[in-house]
Every structure is written in structure tokens, then in C-alpha cells.
């Protein structure tokens, strides 16, 4: 029982932590490219900004789904209730 609890806690930490790494790298890369691109062609900035926000949401989504699942495991744990 305690064993399962501990492993689930570790799992939640890994889900959130690794997900955060991935999402941060993704957002960082995209933000950097966006700044570079708009420095080269400032007239495209508005158009690119919309697309950047859409992509930021897409990159964020996988991470946030992970966070939701991790928090669900942390509080309403289906593996322990049984």
C-alpha cells in the first residue's frame, strides 16, 4: 500500500517535471524564433503573433493534460482506492 503510494507520488512528480521541461523548451524555441523572425520582418509581426499564440496553446496543452492527470492521481487515486 505505502509502496504504491510512494511510487504514485514519484510518478506524479515525473509527469509534471518532465512535462514542464518539454513545454518550456518548446515555448522557448518558439518564442526565440518569433522574436528573430519579427526582427527581420517587422511587418509580419501581427500575423505571426496570432500563430504564435495558437502554437503556444498547443504546446502548453500536452503539459497541462499531464498536470491534470498527475493531480488526479495525487488526490483521487484510482490505484489506491481499490
Amino acid at each position: 500500500m505505502e509502496n504504491i503510494l510512494g511510487l504514485v507520488a514519484l510518478g506524479c512528480g515525473l509527469i509534471v517535471g518532465l512535462g514542464a521541461i518539454g513545454a518550456s523548451i518548446g515555448i522557448g524555441l518558439m518564442g526565440g524564433k518569433f522574436l528573430e523572425a519579427s526582427a527581420r520582418q517587422p511587418e509580419l509581426m501581427n500575423e505571426l503573433q496570432t500563430k504564435m499564440f495558437v502554437l503556444a496553446g498547443l504546446i502548453d496543452a500536452a503539459f497541462l493534460i499531464g498536470v491534470a492527470i498527475a493531480l488526479l492521481f495525487a488526490f483521487a487515486n484510482p490505484f489506491v482506492l481499490a
Binding site: 499564440f53 496553446g57 498547443l58 496543452a61 497541462l64 499531464g66 491534470a68 493531480l71 488526479l72 483521487a76
Partner: protein
């Protein structure tokens, strides 16, 4: 001490708040007989509210100097119309799809915005009503964010999938669409054996594409809202924990700071997710118009 035995622990509090107001208890992962009344009713209410306020703007619409609300509605409609024009190049279908995109955007935004109400406000009111009706107030379940319910988001994304299929058939014809199903993305071959093999592979890829599109479309919105709701609950638990311990007198301060930060960030998230859902709806419907 007896009072403390009845105070919910953090885990019980969150499990209680994750329980839908539904007709029967969900037993399997997919159970079509479950109806989540809270999601349906709140979704319809905010949808009706959105319709009402847009109707107000349309009723008082003037070609002279617009009022503030009319200007806001015009900005929104123009924004959606620009996106629709950029992704769908068929003026005839745009007559249906552009209003659809606006509906999706406003409705999802309003449903997401229910997340910004205090977590316990409506559930506590509901518990009072439920208790006054002669039921046990501890079993008064209510979740007020319809988009934090997988049924709502998957319902929306499946509707988009159905529209995609309808438009595929309408634009390319039944034969053209079926031809596309077996020839895209890998093309076909003159040799009949290879043509058959490629056809099976292509059909398989197309089915995967449709399923992945629809599932990720719904899961993305659900995951964002669900995570947001859970974080709000955790913040609420932090404030509530102060009542049970002497050392936690500063926790309510943390509650206010954390709640403010997360709520401000969440304003961005709910708008962004509504916008992304709308954009993806447009993009998927635009794909249905393209022939390979």
C-alpha cells in the same frame, strides 16, 4: 474533536468537488447512459446568456457611432471572419462555418469563464438548496465548469468531425471522397496488387488521422480546464488548511496571492483555449474542402 472528524481532508474535499451531478454513478470509462446534469444545464445557461447579449447588440445595432458593446461584438465578428477567410476559401460554406466558429468561440469562452467564479460559491449554494429539499447536503455534488467535463468537450469535437465528414462529401462528392480515402497520403500505383496494398495502408492512415484529430481536439480543451480547476481547488485547500492549524495563520494570505496569480494567468488560458478550439475547427473544416 467530534467536529474535526467531520471536516473533510484535502483529498476528500477534492474528490467531492470532482463528482458530477449525474443521474447514475459512472461505472465504466465509457458509459453512454450517464448524463451529467450540471454540465448540460450550465452549458445551456451560459450559451443562452451569450445568445441574449449578442441579440442585444444586434437589436440596437446602428450604422452611426456604435456603442461600446456593439463595437466589442464587431471586433469579435471581424476577428473570426478574418480567420475564416484565411482558412476556408469557399464563400458558400463560409456562410455556415464563420457563424459556427463565432458560436464555438463565444460559447467555449463563456463555459471556460465559469472557472473564474470562486470554486466553492455555487457548490455551497447548491448544497443549501439540496439540503432544503430534504436531501443530505453532504451528497450535493456540482461541477460548474462544463468544459472540465470530458463529455462536453468530446461532444463538441465529435460534432466538428461530423461536420468535416459532411463537408468532405459535399465538396468532393461521395466518390471523390472515397477516392481520397484510399489514395492519400501515399498515392496509388498502376500495379493492381500494389494499388490494393497502398489503398489499405492509406485508408488506415486516414482513419488514424480522423480519430487523432478528434480526440486531441477534445482532450486539449478538457485537459486545460480540468488542470485549471484542480489548481483552483488546491489553492482553496491551502486557504482552508489554516482553519485546522495554529501555525498556518499566514496560509490565507498565500491563498489570496496564489489565487490572484493563477486567476490572472487563467484569463489568458481560457481565452487562448477557446481561440485554439475555434481555429482548429476552422482548420479541420478547411482541410475537408481541400482535395489532394
Amino acid at each position: 474533536m467530534a467536529a474535526e472528524a467531520h471536516a473533510p481532508t484535502a483529498s476528500e474535499y477534492i474528490v467531492h468537488h470532482l463528482q458530477h451531478l449525474q443521474n447514475i454513478k459512472q461505472k465504466a470509462v465509457i458509459d453512454m447512459s450517464v448524463v451529467n446534469y450540471d454540465s448540460v444545464i450550465v452549458g445551456l445557461l451560459v450559451g443562452g446568456l451569450g445568445l441574449f447579449f449578442f441579440w442585444l447588440a444586434a437589436r440596437k445595432a446602428t450604422s452611426g457611432v456604435p456603442g461600446r458593446w456593439q463595437a466589442a461584438v464587431e471586433i469579435m465578428i471581424e476577428m473570426v471572419d478574418t480567420q475564416a477567410k484565411a482558412t476556408i476559401h469557399n464563400a458558400q460554406s463560409r456562410k455556415l462555418i464563420a457563424p459556427l466558429a463565432l458560436t464555438v468561440f463565444v460559447w467555449i469562452f463563456l463555459m471556460n469563464a465559469m472557472d473564474l467564479l470562486p470554486v466553492d460559491l455555487l457548490p455551497v449554494i447548491w448544497a443549501q438548496i439540496w439540503g432544503a429539499a430534504g436531501n443530505d447536503p453532504h451528497h450535493a455534488y456540482l461541477r460548474i465548469v462544463p468544459t472540465a467535463d470530458l463529455s462536453t468537450t468530446m461532444g463538441l469535437s465529435v460534432s466538428v468531425l461530423v461536420l468535416c465528414l459532411i463537408y468532405s462529401v459535399k465538396i468532393k462528392g461521395l466518390g471523390g471522397w472515397m477516392h481520397e480515402l484510399v489514395t492519400a497520403p501515399f498515392g496509388t500505383s498502376k500495379n493492381p496488387i500494389f494499388a490494393l496494398i497502398l489503398g489499405v495502408i492509406n485508408l488506415f492512415m486516414q482513419i488514424i488521422e480522423y480519430v487523432a484529430k478528434t480526440v486531441s481536439h477534445g482532450m486539449r480543451l478538457f485537459g486545460n480546464m480540468y488542470a485549471g480547476e484542480l489548481v483552483f481547488m488546491l489553492i482553496a485547500v491551502m486557504g482552508g488548511a489554516a482553519a485546522m492549524s495554529l501555525s498556518g495563520v499566514l496560509l490565507p494570505v498565500g491563498h489570496i496571492i496564489a489565487g490572484t496569480i493563477w486567476a490572472i494567468f487563467h484569463i489568458l488560458i481560457i481565452t487562448l483555449q477557446a481561440f485554439i478550439f475555434m481555429m482548429l475547427t476552422l482548420i479541420y473544416l478547411g482541410q475537408a474542402h481541400e482535395s489532394h
